[in-house]
């Protein structure tokens, strides 16, 4: 590769990043501007750029203005931030699992990691649970922190077991099947818990499994943000060893990568991301498995220096798009988030399957 073509490809990558960054910004803005309640664009901009208005209760504002302010500040902004964070977290979690398992189909919802997080949530809510008939979204703050920890542990437990099995079995297919089995196991335990819980909770649980970015208030984001932020920072430290892992474990070891420590860190990061997102948004499917492929497809590389930031941005963009689409019906109606993410995600996964069959997989 000549020096000029290397520079050209660097510029091409930069342009793509700028475009995707622009798309994320645009989608975030669109998610805040569009919603079930019609608020004029000028009014939205006015609210966003007058922070003084955010804090004041009502002084000097008409009843309608206060309502609009509340909708933007208390409903749409937290929802958009949650979508962004959740999309980033799930995409990064999926990317790491795909590299760790050297498997293009790995992802939180495929390997049973989401199911593990579900189980953690269900144990806290249904067994230790408060009297609340609702699910995570209606729990008091202390309980939410506990739920988050349980979800991370549930996700980590399944991830750890699957990884342990992968030490003994080389077959990708069997590994996926094992992940699937553990997913079923976790789900059946959840079903058992629900079976022995009060009848009203079944409905609440079902609602929760639909997935939603709208369940969070700002105080929930104060829990989500640091966990996801710390996991992303840890993830950035993993870029080099993960790149070495792409070329095989032998190669990585010869490069001086401490395999066990890297694996443990990846598990902690992957489980924290999948766990915290599941705790607050429900088991959101497909974003994790689909987005890394989207990133590799757009940037034509598997280099983590590019794919980690690309997956983060594209994950945020995908989640924001799904959120916008789920609010499309109008008149206050909405679609379940999980059906939207699957509708967007399935074509990508199918596309990957067809490509990898043709022997042109990126991983």
């Amino acid at each position: 590769m000549t020096e000029s073509s290397a520079r050209n490809s660097k510029i091409a990558i930069l342009i793509r990043f700028l475009l995707i960054f622009g798309a994320v910004f645009f989608l975030f803005a669109l998610d805040v501007v569009k919603g079930s309640v019609d608020i004029p664009l000028t009014r939205v901009v006015e609210i966003l750029f007058s922070p003084a208005e955010w804090l004041s209760e009502t002084n000097g504002l008409s009843l309608e203005q206060v309502g609009q302010r509340d909708i933007i500040v208390l409903f749409r902004l937290p929802r958009a931030v949650t979508a962004l964070l959740a999309g980033m977290g799930l995409a990064l979690s999926g990317l790491f699992m795909q590299t760790l398992f050297r498997n293009p189909l790995a992802g939180p919802s495929v390997l049973g990691i989401n199911a593990g997080a579900n189980l953690g949530v269900a144990v806290v809510v249904l067994v230790m649970g408060g009297a609340a008939g609702g699910f995570v979204a209606t729990l008091p703050l202390g309980m939410k922190a506990l739920v988050t920890i349980a979800a991370v542990f549930g996700a980590g437990a399944v991830l750890g077991v699957v990884l342990l099995v992968s030490r003994f079995i080389g077959s990708v297919t069997i590994l996926l099947l094992v992940g699937l089995m553990f997913g079923y196991l976790a789900n059946s335990l959840v079903t058992l818990l629900i079976h022995f819980s009060a009848a009203g909770r079944v409905q609440a649980y079902l609602q929760w499994t639909f997935g939603s970015f709208g369940a969070t208030a700002w105080k929930d984001i104060y829990i989500m943000m640091p966990v996801i932020g710390a996991a992303v920072l840890l993830g950035i430290l993993l870029i080099k060893p993960l790149n070495a892992l792409l070329l095989g474990e032998e190669y990585a070891r010869s490069m001086g990568v401490a395999l066990i420590r890297v694996r443990m860190t990846v598990i902690v990061v992957g489980a924290s991301l999948a766990g915290v997102v599941t705790a607050f948004c429900g088991p959101v499917t497909f974003v994790g498995v689909a987005v890394p492929h989207l990133a590799r497809g757009i940037f034509r590389t598997a280099d983590h220096r590019t794919i980690v930031p690309a997956s983060l941005l594209l994950g945020g963009a995908t989640a924001l798009t799904a959120d916008i689409v789920s609010h499309l019906p109008g008149q206050g109606g909405m679609l379940p988030l999980n059906s939207v993410t699957a509708l967007l995600g399935v074509p990508v996964v199918v596309w990957v399957l067809i490509r990898s069959r043709a022997g042109r997989s990126f991983i």
């Binding site: 609340a132 009203g200 208030a217 105080k219 909405m334």
Partner: protein, 393 residues
């Protein structure tokens, strides 16, 4: 035979009455009919009572006719023979013969229990779904004392136990039929009677199903009397509210339920709860909606309307205002929260979580209405103490 003779005699007497000649029907004077319920109708033939259950179109069931035939009458008659003999028009494809009065009944829903208790029919209980779902201490005592077996419901229904108990009738909710309960039990020669009380869109329509239960168990007259008393009390309260409201009293704006996972499910504007609020002199903020089912709405769309509401009903799961705030701090901004008009229907709930509102409430609409009136217009019912409802503190 004697029945036909008696009917002929009665017809002769009736002929004397010019008024009834115009009506010209075969029904005896004492015929019980369903006036408020849309889900069932009653036809009295000579010696046979037909209960026609009409599930709503959305449920994809045909109309079902239950022919109540006295145990000692028309022995060994088949449904087809019965159709021919009484020239019953095929209202639905299904007709089942139930021998009455039913002496052994397994009700698969808690709401069927209070009417049985009030009609002194607790002796017919040969099984129940699950004692944990029951609030009424009296019912729990009866169940414990008589050691009435529990058979579960839905997917965990214990079919073998039901077959072993050999009840005369199993009474199920219309949607429970979907769990293959109905065809399986019929294969075992156990008739299943589908009760659609909860599908009724009006409070009196729901309560009228006491007649359905009463007729099955041979207490039709008592059930009618009890229902008439309910109607009298309910419409009395309703008329009092109407009279008061004509004097320009403002109707408080009412919202219901709470946001969950970014969605806010609200009852449809033409349903059961909307009717209660209307009758109690409240203005339900979705009253112009035409659905009887619940609406799943985006939380922000409900919030913008809910902010101005005066009264907020049914916050499932939170037992104090503080708890409610912890789950969602945004709710503090609702006007009803500021003025402490946050009211839940869980005043009568036991430790296991069974709420009496859903157990006896459907058959005591007058009590629910009185509660709501005293909440919306305290001056109309001074000294009323809330029965199902309580203020969150």
């Amino acid at each position: 035979m004697s029945f036909e003779v008696r009917t002929l005699l009665k017809k002769g007497v009736l002929c004397c009455s010019f008024l009834l000649l115009i009506v010209g029907n075969l029904q005896p004077l004492s015929a019980i009919s369903a006036e408020y319920a849309e889900g069932f109708s009653i036809e009295e033939l000579s010696g046979v009572t037909l209960l026609n259950v009409h599930p709503p179109e959305s449920e994809h069931y045909n109309s079902i006719t239950y022919a109540l035939v006295g145990r000692d009458k028309l022995q060994n008659i088949t449904p087809d023979q019965l159709r021919k003999r009484f020239s019953i028009e095929p209202k639905g494809s299904e007709l089942y013969i139930i021998r009455t009065p039913v002496k052994h009944l397994i009700p698969l829903s808690t709401t069927f229990l209070p009417p049985l208790l009030w009609l002194n029919l607790d002796a017919v209980l040969s099984g129940i779904d699950n004692v944990d779902y029951i609030y009424s201490r009296k019912l729990r005592d009866i169940i414990n004392r008589r050691n009435i077996p529990q058979v579960g419901n839905g997917p965990s229904l214990d079919m073998e136990q039901i077959v072993q108990l050999q009840p005369a009738v199993v009474m199920a909710n219309i949607t429970q039929g979907e769990w293959n309960v109905v065809p399986k039990l019929r294969d075992a020669s156990i008739p299943v009677v589908l009760n659609g009380d909860y599908l009724e869109t009006t409070p009196l329509g729901r309560a009228e199903w006491i007649k359905f239960i009463g007729l099955l168990c041979g207490k039709g007259k008592e059930a009618e009397n009890q229902f008439n008393a309910i109607v009298e009390r309910y419409t009395g309260l309703q008329q009092m509210v109407q009279a008061e409201l004509s004097g320009n009293t403002e109707r408080p704006k009412v919202i219901m339920n709470r946001p969950m996972n970014g969605r806010w499910v609200v009852p449809g504007g033409s349903g059961y709860m909307a009717q209660f609020i209307e009758d109690a002199g409240g203005h339900y903020l979705w009253s112009s909606d035409t659905h009887s089912r619940s609406l799943v709405l985006d939380a922000e769309a409900v919030y913008i309307k809910a902010r101005q509401a005066d009264v907020w009903l049914h916050q499932y799961g939170s037992s104090t205002l503080q708890e409610l705030l912890q789950t969602d701090p945004r709710l503090r901004r609702l006007n009803a929260f500021q003025t402490q008009q946050v009211i839940n229907n869980d005043a009568r709930t036991n430790k296991a979580g069974s709420n009496n509102f859903y157990e006896s409430g459907p058959y005591q609409p007058d009590l629910i209405l009185a509660d709501l009136i005293s909440l919306f217009h305290p001056s109309l019912l001074p000294g009323h103490s809330l029965y199902y409802y309580r203020f969150l503190e």
